[in-house]
């Protein structure tokens, strides 16, 4: 494990720093909205930032893979079509991202790498500084402790903050993080602060859903030993709203579409899509390999929990953020925590 530099920085001071950084790049931080919810939004002034928030429903993955993202523009007006790649994104700082979402970013990093490295994703990613927040306020749907998704991390962030009251405990995870810390007035942190943090994390752990262990479900799904009847029941319950995949920090599927703005000009963009939709796999002939929603529900959990994927990704496709618990129209029946429980309790075929 890398030795992490730990510092103490006063809250107001760091906020001032963020405010001045916002003159040079986009600083995105939790901001209370008119409807009372807290949402990650670009800020101009430190006063806009709130630290009183549970994780936003609309996940911060949108800052790395926007819901709507132009790939290139085209102009068919001239002698030959002109294609222009989307302009490179500008630098951004994501302040206050929770640990689970940082783990989600790492999942995306892995997925968008490989033989076909997604340069569009990486352009944005490389321009992004992640200042994460060790989690003291889990929502009542959180279970990151079951998924190695938090409440605090040992790596994966540029800078990790723990709220110690007047001060932040700041842990440096990268040179980008170090660059920010270097411009701050700081003192080095000691055992006392470390113990303080441990105590806070302990308290946080206790607030989480403790029953969402994935292991049994991973085994059952990998070995295709989940009772078909359970999938069928879940398929009937599911509304195919696609919410669970939209909000999931580990879901990355997208659709690619052309949009004509005028007769001759337009753009090709990608936008979030969901494997829970029948249209996701329906072919032009009308044939649909996943026509029934039970097949689609099965697909979602196969992707998140099968050993084949865990091996490829290095971890399950769930960081325990609990969002799919909130957005599921079949309340409490088809979210990750519920499904692993159902598979564990009622869903396994007896061994032959």
């Amino acid at each position: 494990m890398p030795i992490i530099e730990k510092w103490l920085i006063s809250k107001t001071h760091l906020f001032e720093r963020l405010e001045s950084l916002s003159r040079e790049q986009t600083v995105i931080a939790p901001v209370r909205q008119s409807d009372g919810e807290v949402s990650f939004q670009p800020i101009r002034s430190a006063d806009e930032i709130t630290l009183e928030y549970v994780n936003e429903l609309h996940p911060p993955k949108r800052f790395l893979q926007p819901v709507f993202e132009p790939l290139f523009t085209f102009n068919l007006g001239g002698a030959r079509p002109q294609l222009t790649a989307a302009p490179p994104p500008s630098p951004q700082i994501l302040f206050g991202v929770r640990s689970c979402d940082v783990q989600g970013f790492r999942h995306m990093d892995g997925f968008f790498s490989g033989a076909f490295k997604d340069d569009l994703y990486w352009q944005r990613r490389n321009q992004t500084t992640v200042i994460s927040m060790a989690c003291l306020q889990p929502a009542d749907t959180c279970f990151c402790i079951c998924c190695n998704g938090g409440p605090y991390l040992s790596d994966g962030f540029d800078l990790q903050l723990t709220d110690l009251g007047e001060l932040f405990l700041a842990e440096v995870g990268s040179s980008k993080g170090a660059a920010i810390v270097q411009t701050c007035d700081r003192q080095s942190a000691g055992d006392k602060e470390e113990r303080h943090r441990q105590a806070l994390m302990q308290a946080c752990d206790e607030k989480m859903i403790p029953t969402a262990y994935l292991a049994k479900a991973v085994i059952a799904i990998t070995n295709q030993r989940v009772d078909e009847k359970l999938w069928e029941e879940m398929g009937l319950e599911c509304f195919s709203c696609g919410g669970c995949t939209h909000v999931c920090p580990c879901c990355t599927c997208f659709e690619v579409l052309d949009h004509r703005e005028t007769e001759k000009t337009g753009l090709r963009f990608r936008c979030w899509d969901s494997c829970q939709y029948a249209g996701f796999t329906r072919e032009a002939s009308g044939h649909n390999p996943r026509a029934q929603s039970k097949e689609r529900v099965k697909r979602r959990f196969y992707h998140k929990l099968s050993f084949a994927y865990i091996q490829a990704d290095g971890h399950p496709g769930c960081v325990g953020c609990g969002r799919c618990i909130t957005v599921c129209q079949a309340f409490g029946l088809l979210d990750m925590a519920a499904v692993v429980k159902r598979i564990r309790r009622e869903g396994q075929m007896v061994a032959e």
Binding site: P81, A85, F116, D119, L257, D258, E283, R290
Partner: protein
Amino acid sequence: MQKLYLPQLAVIDQIVDETADTKTFTMHFDNPHYNAEFRYLSGQFVEASVLGVGEAPFGFCSNPNRTGTFAVTVRAIGRVTRAMHAMHPGDLLGIRAPLGNHFPLQEVQGYDILFVAGGIGLPPLRSLIEPMLDMREKFGRFTILYGARTPADRVYKTRLEEWAQRKDLTLLQTVDVPDETWNGPVGVVTTLFERTHIDPAATVAFTCGPPVMIRFVIQDLLAMGFPEDHIISTLERYMKCGVGKCGHCAIGHKYICVDGPVFSWRQIKKLPER
């Protein structure tokens, strides 16, 4: 400049009507340097864009040994394919290629070769048949079975004539619904198996066509005693990115666009959904 999703422009050289709803598009890349460097393998595919309409995947149908141009055969079925059918030689398409894995060519040398194609399944196989015929001596017995709905629904009618003339291969064709021009066999493609001599242990079979046909073909081949990894097929799925990112084509943990479209039956069998 990001490149993964940015197509290269290609000029359509020639458009040939194959059937009432199918055309073959031969083209080359507009950028001469890119065109000169461009190579692909049998079984790989392109993502073809009609700008402003969309993008769709098509298997190469041309012989990879003939560099300088390449071709795809396209059935008009939806937005992109219909827009392609409305194009003319000289028009420009966007092309991202080559994508996907390829048919085993070196690995099957020394074997008897059996092709079983249905309808629009012949094009991708043609991109393998032709380079094989370029080195015909490397293979044993060479059999092509082709089934279509009607005689008019067969693609590459002149090429089929040429193959039929050749002494070093057996071409058998069948149709579901004959017309007055047809004096060949009638019935589904699997009925042709009885008319050929196949030694399952020494043969590698390649099959492409509608999913139902493939299912029956594989059933019969297995019954004949083909080893599971001597049956090679292609899988089709709704595809968007072609590079393993958009998620549409995933079956189990395989991405058809990257890990496929070419699979042996042994691999297909193991997938958790089919």
